[in-house]
C-alpha cells in the first residue's frame, strides 16, 4: 500500500503545472473561441432554417404560373428598392426608408400619448377601488374592439388621415398599458406600503418613490405589448388612410400587382417590429434592473 504513493501524488502536480503554464493570451484565445462557438450556436440554427425555407419557397414557386414569385425573382424585381432606400420622388413615390420613417413617426406619437395616458389611468384604477369598479368593466369591453374599427370614428372626428392614424395607435396601445399598470399598482407588496406609512410619505412622494418603481416591471410588460399592437395597427390603418407610410406602400403595390414589392415590405415590417420590441425590452431591462425583489 505504502509503496506506490508517488504516481498518485504526481497527478495533481502535473495538472497544477499545466494550468499555470497556460498563458493569459491562451486564456483570451480560449474564451474568444468559446464566445464564437456560443455565437455560432445561436446564429447558425436560424440561418439554416432560413436557408431551408428559401429553398423550399424557391422550389414550390418556381413554375412560371405560380401566383407568388420565388425569392430569386423577389430580389431581382425589388433590387431598385433595396439599393435605394433613401430615394426621394414625387408624392408617395419615396424610398422604403421614408415610408417606414413616416409609419414610425405616427407610431411614436400615438404610442407616447398612450404610454402617458395609460400609466396615469392605470395608476388611478390600480389605486382606488371605486375607480377600479367604475372603469374596469368599460376598459375590458373597449379593449376588445379591433383597432381598425376605431378608424371611421376617428376620421369623422379629426377629418384628416394623419391624426386619425395616430388616434388608432393610441387607442390600440393604451389598454394593455392601463391594465398592466393597474395590476402592478395593486400588487405593490404590503412591506413597501408599510415603509411608506412609517415614513409618512405624502401622495406625491409615494407615487414617485414607491409606486412607479415597484410597478415598473408590470408597466413595462404593458408597454411591450402596446408597442407590438401599435405596429400591427399602423400598417392596417395606413392602408386605409393613404399617404406616405409602409402600410399604404403595401396597398399601393397590391393595386399595381407588384407582389415582389409587397414581400419586401413585409420583411421590413417584420424586422422593424422585432427591433421595436427589442428596444422596449432593452429599456425595461435597463430601468428595472434593480427592481426585482431582493
Amino acid at each position: 500500500m505504502a509503496v506506490s504513493p508517488i504516481p498518485v501524488n504526481k497527478k495533481p502536480y502535473a495538472v497544477k503545472i499545466m494550468t499555470l503554464a497556460v498563458s493569459p493570451k491562451a486564456v483570451a484565445r480560449r474564451s474568444l473561441a468559446q464566445w464564437l462557438s456560443s455565437l455560432a450556436g445561436h446564429v447558425l440554427p436560424p440561418l439554416i432554417t432560413l436557408a431551408f425555407l428559401m429553398v423550399f419557397w424557391e422550389i414550390i414557386c418556381s413554375s412560371p404560373t405560380a401566383s407568388v414569385p420565388p425569392p430569386s425573382r423577389v430580389v431581382s424585381e425589388t433590387w431598385e428598392l433595396i439599393i435605394h432606400p433613401f430615394y426621394v420622388g414625387q408624392g408617395v413615390d419615396q424610398g422604403l426608408f421614408w415610408h417606414i420613417l413616416a409609419s414610425l413617426k405616427r407610431v411614436a406619437f400615438g404610442y407616447c400619448l398612450a404610454a402617458i395616458a395609460g400609466i396615469a389611468l392605470g395608476t388611478l384604477v390600480g389605486q382606488s377601488d371605486w375607480a377600479m369598479r367604475g372603469l374596469d368593466p368599460i376598459f375590458q369591453v373597449l379593449r376588445t374592439v379591433p383597432p381598425l374599427a376605431w378608424l371611421p370614428l376617428s376620421l369623422a372626428a379629426f377629418k384628416d388621415g394623419n391624426p386619425s392614424a395616430i388616434f388608432v395607435i393610441f387607442i390600440t396601445a393604451i389598454w394593455p398599458i392601463i391594465i398592466n399598470t393597474a395590476v402592478g399598482i395593486r400588487n405593490i407588496p404590503q412591506d413597501y406600503q408599510n415603509v411608506a406609512k412609517v415614513l409618512r410619505l405624502n401622495q406625491f412622494e409615494y407615487f414617485t418613490k414607491i409606486m412607479i418603481p415597484a410597478a415598473a416591471p408590470y408597466i413595462f410588460t404593458g408597454l411591450r405589448i402596446g408597442i407590438g399592437l401599435s405596429w400591427l395597427a399602423i400598417v392596417a390603418a395606413e392602408m386605409l388612410i393613404g399617404g406616405v407610410g409602409i402600410g399604404f406602400f403595401i396597398w399601393d403595390a397590391w393595386n399595381s400587382s407588384r407582389i415582389s414589392d409587397i414581400i419586401l415590405a413585409l420583411i421590413y415590417v417584420g424586422i422593424v417590429g422585432y427591433l421595436l420590441d427589442r428596444a422596449i425590452a432593452f429599456l425595461a431591462k435597463t430601468v428595472t434592473r434593480n427592481t426585482a425583489s431582493a
Binding site: N194, V198, R200, A214
Partner: protein, 265 residues
C-alpha cells in the same frame, strides 16, 4: 409618579374577515420605560407581529389604547420606526439611498442637505455598512440587509424602536454578530426597544424584561420576566452565569411546559 414612556392599555384585537372573526389578542397591557429593552416571546402565530403593528400604528386595535410619550398612537410615524422581519428595503434604491430616503423625509425641515448626508453616513457606520453603501439590496447578504434595515430605523431617531424577529432568517453566526451590534448600539444611544423574537437565548441576552405570551387564539401576556444581568453583557461569560441560566430556564419552562404548542406535540 409620572406616566410611563410607552404604555399599552388593555389591547384587544379581533380580526374579522367575511363572516369569521378571529380573536388574536386579549387584554394585553404593558408599560415600558425610556431606555428599556423589552423582548416579546411566544409561539409562532400567537399575535406578536399583530401587537407590534398596533404599537407601530399600522394596525388599529379593536379595543384599548397605546400611549407614547404622553400622546395616543393612532397612525404610523417615524417616531416608532419598525425593522420588519423580511428587511423590506426598497430593491430599486441602493443601501445609502434606502437610509437617505428616511433621513430626507424625517429631517427635511431640521437638517441641511449636507447634514442629512452626514447623518445617513453616521447611521451606516453604526451598523458597519459604509463599505456597501452603493450596492443594491439584492447584492448584499441577508445579514447586511437586516443591518441596513436597522440603520434606516435608527436614522429616524425614533422614540421607540420596533423590531419584528429581526434576526429570524439569519444563520447562527450572523445572528450572534448582529445581536452584539444591537447591544452596542443600545448601550451607546439608550434607545427604547420593543423586540419580537422566538429565540430564548436572544431574549435573555438582550432584554431588560421578557414578555411571554400565551398561545392564541386570544393570546394574553402570560408572564413578564426581569433579567437582572448587568451590562455590558458578554455571551461567553453569560453561558455559565447562574442568573442567565435561571432566566433562560424560566422562559423555556413557560414556552415548552406550560404553554406548549398543542399541535407541535
Amino acid at each position: 409618579m409620572s406616566k410611563p414612556y410607552l404604555s399599552l392599555e388593555q389591547i384587544d384585537m379581533v380580526f374579522s374577515r367575511g363572516g369569521t372573526t378571529t380573536p388574536v389578542l386579549n387584554q394585553v397591557s404593558l408599560t415600558v420605560e425610556k431606555g428599556d429593552f423589552i423582548s416579546i416571546i411566544g409561539h409562532s402565530g400567537c399575535g406578536k407581529s399583530t401587537l407590534l403593528n398596533i404599537v407601530a400604528g399600522l394596525t388599529t386595535a379593536t379595543r384599548g389604547v397605546v400611549f407614547l410619550d404622553g400622546a395616543v398612537v393612532d397612525a404610523p410615524g417615524p417616531d416608532r420606526a419598525v425593522v420588519f422581519q423580511n428587511h423590506s428595503l426598497l430593491p430599486w434604491l441602493t443601501v445609502y439611498e434606502n437610509v437617505k430616503l428616511a433621513v430626507d423625509k424625517v429631517f427635511s425641515a431640521t437638517k441641511s442637505r449636507a447634514e442629512r448626508h452626514e447623518w445617513t453616513m453616521r447611521n451606516l457606520e453604526l451598523v458597519q455598512m459604509v463599505h456597501a453603501k452603493d450596492k443594491h439590496p439584492a447584492e448584499v447578504s441577508g445579514g447586511m440587509k437586516q443591518r441596513v434595515g436597522i440603520a434606516r430605523a435608527l436614522a429616524m431617531e425614533p422614540k421607540v424602536l420596533l423590531l419584528d424577529e429581526p434576526f429570524g432568517a439569519l444563520d447562527a453566526l450572523t445572528r450572534a454578530h448582529l445581536q452584539d451590534q444591537v447591544m452596542q448600539i443600545h448601550a451607546e444611544l439608550a434607545n427604547t426597544v420593543l423586540m419580537i423574537t422566538h429565540d430564548v437565548d436572544e431574549a435573555v441576552l438582550l432584554s431588560d424584561r421578557i414578555v411571554m405570551m400565551t398561545n392564541g387564539p386570544s393570546a394574553r401576556i402570560g408572564e413578564i420576566l426581569h433579567v437582572p444581568l448587568l451590562r455590558p453583557r458578554r455571551r461567553i461569560e453569560l453561558a455559565s452565569d447562574a442568573t442567565y441560566i435561571r432566566c433562560r430556564s424560566a422562559v423555556l419552562k413557560f414556552l415548552y411546559e406550560r404553554h406548549r404548542l398543542v399541535e407541535a406535540a
